[in-house]
């Protein structure tokens, strides 16, 4: 989802670079921070995602929030490692199931 908007993001960066965050005002930031999480989770509508990517192109504060939260997700995904499944687990389950089937 994020990757999908990457192209858009670059484009808006150039288009809107003249605009300052002050001009956009506080209500824009509030709106941005409210939908930021769902955009990063890939749950936002295209309009909401567009809005966030337009806004962070010119607002450093929201851009930083966006980058921190994006990195947080990446870190959790990359650093919290999977354990190997215990080797006997599948067999333990199969034994219990066969016992169940016999009882029934």
């Amino acid at each position: 989802m994020v990757n999908f908007y990457q192209g858009n993001f670059m484009e808006t960066n150039q288009q809107k670079s003249a605009e300052t965050s002050k001009q956009m005002g506080c209500s824009s930031c509030n709106e941005c921070l409210q939908v930021l999480q769902i955009v990063l989770d890939g749950e936002a509508t295209p309009e909401e995602a567009d809005f966030v990517h337009h806004h962070i192109a010119t607002c450093n504060h929201c851009l930083e929030c966006y980058e921190v939260d994006k990195t947080l997700r990446q870190m959790v995904k990359a650093k919290v490692l999977n354990l190997n499944c215990p080797q006997d687990l599948a067999q333990l389950i199969e034994v219990k199931i066969s016992e169940l089937v016999i009882k029934v």
């Binding site: 999480q37 890939g42 930083e64 929030c65 921190v68 947080l72 650093k79 354990l83």
Partner: protein
């Protein structure tokens, strides 16, 4: 996740179980471990989960999300059988945590002093420890969303909560996680 019984033959039941659920064993074990934080408990929890899955397999509709269906059983088994045993904060503590975060302004809680470069320097243990230190309900939503990649809708079904609650719980969970990571950073020598 329909509760209507599917008319499966014994052969079909075994086939669904072996083809749809057994390949999810490692994922189920890891979810169980992240809930219980104990390898033996995780092993027991997965066995209980798979036994229940087999017994109730008629309520699984072929073609629907097997992992979400299995994780919902696992989560319910955890709440019913394991939560009491573990040293997790009680339900009361958890509600307090939720109230504290409810009263806080969503935007205000966004502003942590965590920076991207600080986050990127974190080692795996710090991230895993911070995640494990969260109350289990907050830990769970982060695992389901960021590690397992479930959608809000799937999470709502697994956890039996409305989508709005999924969203707000995730938001609070991430803020708690950022606070923990920020604490680690402040108390480290870097």
């Amino acid at each position: 996740m329909s509760n209507l019984a599917q008319p499966y033959s014994e052969k079909e039941k075994n086939q669904i179980f072996n083809e749809s659920f057994m390949p999810l064993l490692t994922a189920a074990y890891n979810f169980a471990f992240r809930l219980t934080l104990d390898e033996d408990d995780a092993k027991d929890l997965v066995q209980d989960t798979y036994l229940k899955a087999f017994r109730f397999i008629e309520s699984f509709q072929k073609g629907t999300n097997a992992k979400a269906w299995l994780f919902r059983i696992l989560k319910n088994s955890f709440i019913n059988d394991y939560r009491k045993k573990t040293k997790e904060p009680s339900k009361v503590d958890y509600q307090e945590v939720e109230q504290v975060y409810n009263s806080e302004d969503a935007e205000a809680s966004m502003t942590t002093d965590l920076r991207v470069d600080v986050l990127q320097d974190m080692i795996g243990d710090e991230v895993a420890n911070a995640l494990n230190a969260l109350p289990v309900d907050f830990r769970t939503v982060i695992i389901l969303c960021d590690i397992e990649g479930f959608t809000y809708e799937e999470m709502a079904k697994i956890l039996d909560i409305p989508i709005g609650t999924v969203r707000s719980r995730l938001h609070r969970a991430r803020n708690l996680l950022k606070e923990k990571l920020s604490d680690y950073y402040k108390h480290s020598d870097r």
